[in-house]
Point group: C2
């Protein structure tokens, strides 16, 4: 079974509701409360062997990542996170101290962003450790930034650095919640997504939902030290890792050229910012190298 085509099938069977402003297929769903206020909802399931490794990751790290992924989804809407509910399936033989350490990891990350855990479900199963977090945000009177608002000529920008997250960042990352909210409050952002599937794949989601294309300047892509280190081991280029590795949890967004100038001129933004390309009317992603040649 292919997950992406299954999600498309689910989306095609979705029922309409006048209070559901954003439904299946974005980082969060949004439900209208009244004219100005919306509830944002996102849910993430993390499974042993797919999203974390019990041999490499501590229970605290696993807990921390479980909620951080969901916080990142709220960040990608430019909204603030408020509450979460947490379901955990512990394998039958789980020690109480392991369970508490995992939960402390969740609580610590929640506390760092003033998110309250308001409920959950604790079950036990045969083997696999599974954590599901559903998170609730509020738009605070702001618009919610979806994947579908990118316009031709928008600048394409990204927070932080990309690639090689498997060396550590995928589990220890700090979600860009403050950055997302700041972008939404101070600038006119047209579309946004968090990098979970990888820059190329997640840019692809924006392009598909917005029905536009993009030019990427390979020299402008912020490549992390981990991408370089990983490249020495894998034989792929560091750029390849920056483009295709998942789980960076940086924010990729588009805004008018003018807004991007304003943003780059503002000195107080809390993370590195890179303008990595622009949106155009064609289809797909074209990568341009140092000499201006299109690679793809």
């Amino acid at each position: 079974m292919d997950e992406f085509s299954f999600i498309k099938w689910i989306k095609s069977n979705q029922k309409k509701d006048r209070n559901v402003i954003i439904g299946i297929g974005d980082d969060c769903a949004s439900i209208r409360i009244n004219d100005e206020n919306m509830f944002l909802v996102s849910t993430d399931m993390l499974v042993e062997g797919t999203h974390f490794d019990l041999k490499k990751n501590t229970p605290g790290e696993i807990g921390s990542k479980s909620i951080a992924c969901s916080i990142s989804d709220i960040a990608a809407m430019g909204c603030s996170a408020k509450y979460a509910v947490v379901s955990i399936c512990f394998p039958h033989e789980t020690e109480t101290e392991f369970a508490r350490e995992l939960y402390r990891g969740i609580n610590k990350m929640a506390d760092a962003f003033s998110i309250k855990i308001i409920g959950g479900d604790i079950v036990s199963g045969k083997k696999t450790l599974v954590v599901n977090v559903t998170i609730y945000g509020r738009n605070e009177g702001l618009k919610t930034i979806s994947r579908s608002g990118a316009r031709a000529d928008d600048a394409l920008m990204i927070t932080g650095e990309l690639g090689g997250s498997i060396l550590g960042k995928h589990i220890t990352f700090k979600p860009r919640l403050k950055e997302g909210l700041l972008l939404n409050k101070k600038f006119n952002i047209n579309s946004m997504i968090d990098i979970s599937d990888g820059l190329a794949a997640d840019l692809g989601h924006i392009l598909e939902e917005s029905r536009v294309g993009a030019i990427l300047y390979e020299d402008e892509i912020p490549i992390s030290e981990d991408a370089k280190e990983l490249a020495r081991k894998t034989g792929f280029s560091a750029l390849h890792h920056a483009l295709y590795d998942g789980e960076d949890y940086e924010l990729l967004f588009t805004l008018s050229g003018r807004e991007s100038q304003k943003l780059l001129a503002s000195k107080s933004f809390p993370s590195r910012l890179s303008k990595i390309g622009y949106i155009d009317k064609s289809k797909g992603i074209r990568i341009v190298d140092t000499y201006g040649n299109q690679k793809k």
Copy 2:
């Protein structure tokens, strides 16, 4: 690890928030939207081998149960269910048709109660099938009925029949959403819970949260045909199965003697109703037999 003591530990670490009216430890959490309106939230994780059996249950039944459990939690608050998000971990080798059948089971149950699926997460894992549903309800201007409102002299009542759910009802049950909302609209219900852990255990939750005790009349407990059939196989009594089997998903509630008379006199209630005992000021549950003798 003991799940109940772990949940107590989680609850003891819970942070307060002025908009969280009901937090960890009830059927749902409730968040204040404004003076009259609240959002109800509940999350349930169903795991292969614990909550369903791939050899006995069809994918459609598994999907149906996954959301029905959550609907039942909203029913236990006397509220209406509106939206749900669904996370599923499919084992790597899952066939597309299996996945679709499971999802159709979720959709069919959601449709039956006019609930919209607004988002989710589809992941794949090594072995175990896991489904997590988080559901949202609204109180529709009504109060939310918690576990903690039972008062001495309240009548103790239950919908439907109990016991032997393992023979089928645990997976094919229809949650008592209409009944819960009707009880809340038309009668003054002091406390309510849905029977997931079993009559004795779930009554215990009401008693603990309300700091009261209860008398149960064993002759008044509505014993299902499945409890009787199961009793013939297990050697336990049918009453034992009605008291201790889980997953009946009936509603157990308390209300004043006068309100209970009013309820029993109303001919239009859509399910069987039984008055099975009453609340008193002592501690724990005492069971009274046909001859008026306390058994425990």
